[in-house]
């Protein structure tokens, strides 16, 4: 087991998160999971988009691709394909992953690359100062949704299950140890793993507070069968009591990189076969 301090940024690093933000415990959870899995900073890549959660790579010492809003998943897929030996994590918020990046979210699940997708779900837009996110509850008033949110909230777990995601989990930022175990299992899962992690936003979301989550959430018990997809759907649709834990896992699905690669090792080391090219050119006579 590695010391989780190796992922720490130098002391005095300026952090853009507000005091009390749910992002802090999530950062800690990810560091602990990486350390317990012995993943060196050099062997991990963190992909993120834009938003407060998407700033995580600036506070966690690993390789990173902090790209565009909503676009954390496409580079993550490509990095895993190009360098299958790397641990690839895509980490962003609910707006980034389910809103701007919704199409990539759907089609990444269909591909099943061996990446871990950690979604900080605070049900609000933080960086743009408090508008509704795809997961905001109906009726929530914001500077834009002045009469309250009128759309149905996006249900990431049900969508993931419907697209046959091979690992579907939900966690809560406050529960460090439980969440760490879930994130670890997600990283160990060979295939696409989504962890939707409830993250209270203390500045803009006065509705879904630490207390609110504590009252609504519970963990699935030891008897819970995580290969039972129908049961997983039931949990995903239950909005009164919010189930936490690994709700579904299928270990039999092949990964995208295994299906799409026709060569071995990192693509960076691949040489062009001049002989094969000459043959191909000559076939055009």
């Amino acid at each position: 087991m590695l010391d989780k301090k190796i992922y720490d940024m130098p002391k005095g690093t300026d952090m853009a998160w507000c005091p009390g933000c749910g992002n802090f415990p999530i950062l800690n959870i990810v560091k602990m999971a990486l350390a317990e899995l012995d993943i060196r900073p050099q062997d991990a890549v963190l992909c993120s988009g834009i938003g407060q959660a998407a700033k995580t790579p600036h506070y966690l010492r690993v390789n990173y691709f902090n790209g565009l809003h909503g676009r954390a998943l496409p580079p993550a897929i490509a990095i895993k394909i190009a360098s299958p030996h790397l641990t690839v994590i895509a980490e962003s918020g609910d707006g980034d992953t389910y809103g701007e990046g919704g199409n990539h979210f759907m089609h990444t699940i269909r591909r099943n690359p061996d990446i871990t997708n950690i979604v900080h779900d605070n049900m609000i837009y933080g960086l743009t100062k408090g508008q509704a996110s795809p997961t905001s509850e109906k009726g929530m008033k914001t500077p834009v949704q002045t009469a309250g949110v009128i759309l149905e909230p996006f249900n990431p777990l049900a969508v993931a299950l419907a697209l046959d995601a091979s690992f579907v989990a939900r966690a809560f930022a406050s529960d460090i140890l439980e969440s760490k175990d879930i994130v670890k299992a997600a990283m160990q899962h060979k295939g696409y793993a989504i962890v939707d992690i409830f993250q209270p936003c203390v500045v803009f979301n006065k509705q879904n507070t630490y207390q609110w989550f504590k009252e609504k959430c519970y963990y699935v018990d030891a008897e819970y069968d995580k290969t039972d997809k129908v049961q997983a759907f039931e949990k995903a649709f239950d909005m009164e009591r919010l189930a936490l834990g690994i709700l579904y896992q299928d270990t039999s699905k092949p990964t995208y990189e295994d299906l799409v690669r026709t060569s071995q090792g990192p693509l960076a080391k691949q040489e062009v076969s001049r002989e094969a090219l000459e043959k191909l050119i000559n076939s055009h006579r």
Partner: protein, 568 residues
């Protein structure tokens, strides 16, 4: 006696699904193997069945690579072909088709009856009509029948002996008929055959680009289908396996370019292919490439816009789009090939420059170029030796180290002791977000400084004729080299010389002097004179005239000659 000598234009026309493309492919192959210079270009409607499409095959003594309006022989597979091509059918055009079917539209046409239906009945299946047509054409041209038989045997071998035999029978039937026609109608066709041509490569633009992409060491393509850019995706899907090329059909163009950037970040060599509309969606990714200084190669097969425009036709109106795509300021390079040789070369150059300067590079083609087929000598394909620009990182590695030439050594994750970060925000040397004005200026200037090297590496234009002494320069870029060259030959005047650009941005400093004290005419397939404007921007040159066309068709040699005559 009707004599055709040295330059034949043979056009095949029919509805989509009637096998026009099969006839073209077979005919072009057999003619090339016989030693004839061939150049084939096509126009087709955006539909799977029906409509009216045509392919022009030029069979010439000298190598030609341009479209002509003139039609010497027109194979009309249905009656819609005649109204579709009416303005190109002259009194001396020989129309070959079933008189029965063409009668209604035959006014003013010299039609020779070819009873395709009777042949198909004799052969037992209309599927063999295509092969009959190939036979008729070869018979008319007095080509060797042996070549056709051999080719049909090779081409249909995997379909079994029965199919081979039937096609050979169909070819022979058509051939005998064509030969008989030539005799009966007094048609004589004389075009030189050369044994060297028989040995040449036969390539369309897409294939040449695909081979160049493989030669560049491309091992990743993620793209969303869009005509006419899809061909490259298909080519790499078909041939990429043994080269270890990863082929991903993306959910949209946004995903495609972001995957491409992720692949390059991790050390792969990626290309994305699209057309103007798909490229619109990619522009935020282009801007991302600009700030994260990650290489990416984008192929844009142009077609007429705005928006869906004319999906299957040709234009050169996306130069400005590519030149300015993406918000903010950052360096880039744009290539625009006209020949298979140029496509093979610039595909490699686009990878080389993207890799060397860590920038987005663009290969700008169009439907006309991608779909045109011609034969070229194999030794005209030039291979660029690949350089390795990836370093093994040390523990204190900084991805965006400020350097004199603006290029920071590029490490990749998992290779070395360092960490590799990239960020779409303005960042410091270690890729962490900054809002320091000082750092912003240092980083921005570092990126922009790379333009000096990129410009120094720019490819020189190709000169045609006596550029030094001519009073007027005819300038072309992209797919118009062939028509520019042929127009110069037709006009044959020392006062006019040609200059063709296969890199259109940045322009090489050294080429500027070629324009001194010259009158300049720019030839391009758009309405705005986009390259003419770029010459002003890059060289401060005001062009005297432009020859523009934006009807969705490529320039015809006759039109260009006439318009130049009016200007000279």
């Amino acid at each position: 006696m009707k004599r055709f000598s040295g330059d034949i234009s043979l056009v095949l026309g029919g509805a989509a699904g009637m096998g026009v493309q099969t006839v073209e492919a077979l005919l072009v192959q057999v003619l090339k193997r016989e030693g004839y210079n061939v150049f084939a270009s096509k126009e087709y409607m955006s539909r799977i069945r029906g409509g009216s499409n045509s392919t022009e095959i030029r069979i010439t003594d000298a190598k030609r690579a341009a479209f002509v309006k003139r039609i010497d022989f027109l194979f009309a597979m249905d009656k819609d072909v005649i109204p579709h091509l009416r303005d190109r059918i002259a009194l001396d055009t020989i129309v070959l088709g079933e008189l029965e079917k063409l009668r209604d539209v035959s006014e003013g046409c010299h039609i020779i009856d070819v009873p395709f239906t009777r042949f198909a009945n004799e052969l037992g299946n209309p599927i063999y009509t295509s092969t009959v047509a190939v036979g008729v054409a070869l018979g008319l041209l007095h080509a060797e029948e042996k070549g056709l038989t051999e080719y049909l045997r090779d081409h249909f071998a995997r379909k079994g002996e029965a199919v081979v035999a039937k096609n050979i029978e169909a070819g022979a039937l058509g051939y005998a008929f064509g030969k008989h026609l030539a005799y009966a109608e007094g048609i004589e066709v004389i075009v030189a055959k050369r044994s060297a041509v028989a040995e040449e490569l036969l390539l369309d633009g897409t294939e040449a680009l695909g081979l160049g992409t493989l030669s560049a060491g491309c091992n990743y393509i993620s793209s969303y289908p869009m005509s006419p850019g899809t061909g490259l995706l298909t080519f790499l899907a078909k041939h990429g396996n043994e080269f270890g090329v990863v082929v991903d059909q993306a959910e949209d163009e946004i995903a495609a370019i972001n995957q491409g950037l992720g692949a390059w970040y991790a050390g792969a060599r990626a290309i994305v292919t699209t057309s103007g509309g798909g490229f619109d969606l990619m522009t935020e990714g282009v801007s991302l490439a600009g700030i994260i200084e990650t290489p990416i190669v984008v192929h844009i097969g142009q077609r007429p816009g705005p928006s869906t425009g004319l999906p299957t036709r040709t234009e050169q109106a996306d130069l400005n789009l590519v030149l300015y795509a993406g918000h903010g300021e950052f360096p880039r390079a744009i290539f625009a090939p006209s020949t298979p040789e140029e496509a093979f070369l610039v595909a490699q150059q686009a990878f080389y420059i993207a890799d060397k300067y860590q920038i987005p590079t663009f290969i700008l083609t169009d439907q006309y170029f991608l779909d045109s087929v011609r034969s070229i000598p194999e030794d005209s394909l030039r291979t660029i030796t690949r350089e390795n620009f990836i370093i093994e990182t040390a523990a204190d590695y900084k991805r965006y180290a400020v350097t004199a030439d603006g290029v920071s050594p590029r490490g990749i994750p998992g290779y070395g002791e360092g960490l590799v970060g990239i960020d779409s925000d303005e960042h410091d040397e270690e890729a962490h977000i900054t809002e320091s004005a000082l750092m912003r200026v240092a980083m921005h200037e570092k990126r922009l400084r790379k333009m000096v090297g990129i410009r120094a590496d720019a490819l020189m234009p190709t000169e045609r004729g006596d550029v030094k002494h001519a009073e007027t320069l005819l300038v072309s870029w992209g797919s118009n080299r062939g028509v520019m060259e042929e127009a110069l030959e037709v006009l044959n005047t020392p006062e006019l010389a040609g200059l063709h650009f296969h890199q259109v941005y940045p322009l090489p400093v050294k080429a500027k002097k070629l324009f001194v004290k010259k009158k300049v005419i720019v030839l391009e397939n758009n309405a705005g004179g986009q390259f003419a404007n770029l010459l002003l921007l890059e060289y401060g040159i005001k062009v005297s005239d432009t020859v523009l066309q934006y009807d969705g068709n490529p320039f015809a040699v006759e039109d260009v000659v006439a318009r130049l005559r009016a200007l000279l």
